[in-house]
């Protein structure tokens, strides 16, 4: 068990930036997901920790020990790959015991047996030890791969998109299973993914990386509800967050009002939020599609629009709306309603859900107030 500390870690591949100046503290036993789009620098970061590639600049400490220059085998980290890399004709027991049979470990037969059984039990595969890998389900294979990494008792687990080769449905169940096992691991884990649901579900914290640079580090809640930039906000959520230009207006009652979507709707902004806006007259507003509600009746606070497209997805539907000023926004609505294209509709925006960004630099300014999910405890 160990903490991992990355200090100004930089890796160039010729003229192409892998990552630059990544500084990140991962606590002992923490599960850190590294999330970003393809080519962001996620796998480079993982490979640097593993020692598979060497940095141009910066350093890595594992458990307080400087590991720069150490061979991968001497860092006591365990990689879990996308393909699991199990030996298909061997049994679960043989696969799990494999790392302990290397000369480096010199484990006695008795200890080997004891360790394999202990971790097999933890992974709930102790009843499968004599089965060949070929006879296992995908979930059981995942457990075996994790079990095999565990028997080595590494300081750090490194996982590179272990679920990405599964089809979408299986990924959902395997993610839940992995999260369930996670509490048993108790080992510091760095987990790379391009799937925001995996990043949110599994991570104690998420490091968002793009174009080789760290964009934000925080708990899933912090990143979802207080994204550091429009860019980060857009990476989390499907359909992605709506970003709407807005003008701030003073109102007689002292509240600031927002002029958005070509309409003068009295969405009040509390003064403590206004004070965070640095005197900006215009802002960009982030509004999640699930925070837009279709109004049943006429109302003073309603926005007006035309249905551009309607896409049922089962439990939920995506409604794309052309607002009065021509901007196009998406709402995620209840699955039992249907809408015809070009129908006039009215909608409301949940004033509690607004995120304020700078107009030009698109950095985070403020949020309207506590969101629903945050209103509760941890």
């Amino acid at each position: 068990m160990a903490s991992v500390h990355l200090h100004e870690l930089t890796k160039w591949y010729g003229k192409r930036r892998g990552i630059e100046d990544v500084t990140l503290d991962i606590a002992d036993q923490e599960f850190m997901t590294i999330f970003g789009p393809a080519g962001a620098g996620k796998t480079t970061t993982l490979n640097l920790i593993a020692g598979i590639v060497a940095p141009n600049r910066g350093g890595i400490r594992i458990g307080g020990r400087d590991v720069d220059g150490l061979e991968p085998a001497d860092r006591n980290v365990a990689m879990v790959f996308e393909s699991y890399a199990l030996y298909p004709q061997m049994t679960v027991f043989q696969n799990m015991a494999f790392p302990l049979r290397s000369p480096k470990h010199r484990t006695s037969a008795r200890e080997l047996e004891e360790r394999v059984r202990r971790y097999a039990k933890m992974m709930k595969i102790d009843h499968l030890l004599q089965r060949p890998i070929q006879a296992l389900s995908n979930g059981q294979r995942q457990r075996t791969a994790l079990g095999r990494a565990l028997v080595r008792q590494p300081d750090v687990f490194l996982m590179d998109e272990p679920l990405s080769h599964l089809d979408a449905k299986l990924r959902h169940s395997m993610r839940a299973e992995l999260k369930e096992m996670r509490s048993q691991l108790g080992t510091t884990t760095v987990y790379v993914t391009h799937d925001y649901l995996e990043a949110m579900s599994l991570g104690d914290r998420i490091a968002v990386i793009n174009l080789g640079r760290l964009q934000q580090v925080g708990t899933p809640k912090e990143i979802y509800f207080t994204p550091a930039s429009v860019e980060v906000a857009r990476l989390f959520g499907d359909p992605e967050i709506n970003v709407i230009g807005a003008r701030l207006r003073s109102k007689p009652d002292g509240l600031a009002g927002l002029q958005i979507l070509g309409e003068n709707i009295p969405i009040g902004v509390p003064s403590d939020v206004v004070s965070l806006l640095n005197g900006a007259e215009t802002v960009k507003l982030g509004v999640r599609p699930s925070d837009i509600e279709i109004a049943e009746n006429n109302g003073a606070g309603n926005f007006h629009g035309l249905v551009y497209s309607f896409e049922p997805l089962g439990t939920k539907s995506v409604l794309t709306i052309d607002a009065s000023d021509g901007s196009r926004i998406r709402a995620l609505i209840d699955g039992h309603r249907t809408f015809e294209v070009d129908r006039r509709i009215q909608f409301r925006i949940d004033p509690r859900s607004l995120v304020f960004f700078e107009t030009e630099k698109e950095g985070f300014l403020a949020k309207s107030r506590l969101n629903r999910q945050e209103a509760g405890d941890g």
């Binding site: 449905k169 839940a176 896409e311 997805l313 794309t320």
Partner: protein, 360 residues
């Protein structure tokens, strides 16, 4: 534009091997948007290629309008094709690739320009019009491909996984645009896809295929809410439907043997279950209500995993080998180890035959 009818359409590649497509009958109305949905190898692309005329038919009939086209040359069938690797002319700019067939059919220069501009707007390729195909990414090629198929306003538009090469963000945008385009133009359209969300979002009706056979042909919501069998139930929906084996005890309650999952059934479901030894039980994550208080017929359990996903929260309750997933309101709070009671809306429950998988 036209209706399209498939009658007992069958394709056998090698005599003695299983049919790639077996006795497929579909009646597609004029202007309708149909999705052929299924995993790889289910026969969906073979079906599309037979309609296009790129594949011979072993037996059965294809009618476009009222006319049998089995023997008609592909170019005379009035179909527009956007296939995954349907080549663009390399020496021509995108603009000319789009215009090529229109000009060949004697459409006036002004009309060609108008249609190019129109389709470019929908498919977000306005700034690509003066590039040559070699300069395009695979996603861009795919959009140009689709534009070229649509611009001719064919009787039937055939789309083979048109969004599969696009990144997630663009895929969602393009899905919306295709849907809009169809709402305006009402091309009779068949899309082949393995992506259930794409099929649900776009199609008026979905034909679910498995091993060359039609499993169900109905509206997205009907297929989603009343799946014809276990395969369809498991193929549609994310997170997937919880499906597991159950038996019935002496008190007419569903039981997962070896666990404390015991669920009293209403009369209708009892009747459907009948005198079977066992069946498969299916419930979508949204059909499970999780509460900390007991109520009539609730099933006790212990939360073993919680996933906070921003807009959604998922809770997993373990019963032996089964991890039963529930989608709950984000305002509800449970932790691993919480003792909970699960309730089920009995109208949301599915029972499938243990052997055939058919809906009871």
């Amino acid at each position: 534009m036209a209706e399209l009818t498939l009658r007992n359409l069958t394709k056998i590649y090698n005599p003695g091997t299983p049919a790639a497509v077996e006795q497929l009958s579909l009646e597609i109305r004029d202007g309708e948007f149909i999705a052929l949905l299924g995993p790889s190898g289910c026969g969906k692309s073979t079906t599309l290629r037979m309609v296009a005329g790129l594949e011979t038919v072993t037996s059965g009939e294809i009618l476009i309008g009222k006319k049998t086209v089995n023997q008609t040359h592909p170019k005379d069938r009035g179909v527009g094709l956007a296939f995954e690797n349907y080549a663009l002319y390399p020496p021509l700019r995108v603009r000319d690739n789009l215009a090529f067939n229109l000009k060949a059919h004697g459409v006036s220069g002004r009309e060609v320009e108008k249609r190019v501009a129109e389709i470019a707007k929908y498919l977000h390729i306005g700034d690509l019009l003066d590039l040559k195909p070699a300069a395009l990414s695979s996603g861009q090629k795919q959009r140009v491909n689709m534009a070229r198929a649509m611009i001719r306003r064919p009787a039937v538009l055939l789309l083979d996984e048109p969004l599969s090469h696009l990144d997630a963000r663009l895929r969602v945008q393009m899905r919306t645009e295709i849907k809009r385009l169809h709402a305006e133009q009402r091309f009779t359209t068949i899309i082949v896809t393995h992506d259930q969300l794409e099929a649900m979002a776009l199609a008026n009706r979905i034909a679910v295929l498995h091993d060359g056979r039609l499993q169900q042909f109905d509206t997205p919501l009907e297929v989603f809410n009343h799946p014809a069998n276990e395969f369809v139930a498991g193929f549609l929906g994310e997170p997937p439907m919880n499906i597991f084996e159950v038996t019935m005890d002496a008190g007419s309650r569903l039981v997962v043997p070896g666990t404390d999952f015991t669920l009293p059934l209403n009369d209708k479901l009892q009747r459907l279950f009948g005198s079977r030894a066992g069946a498969k039980f299916g419930v979508r994550p949204w059909g499970v209500k999780v509460s900390s208080t007991q109520s009539g017929g609730s099933v006790p359990g212990t939360v073993s995993v919680v996933e906070n996903l921003g807009d959604e929260t998922h809770v997993g309750v373990r019963y032996g080998e089964i991890l039963l997933m529930a989608s709950i309101p984000v305002t509800d709070r449970f932790k691993p180890g919480s003792k909970v009671q699960l309730t089920f809306n009995q109208d949301d429950l599915n029972l499938f035959d243990a052997t055939t998988g058919d809906r009871l």
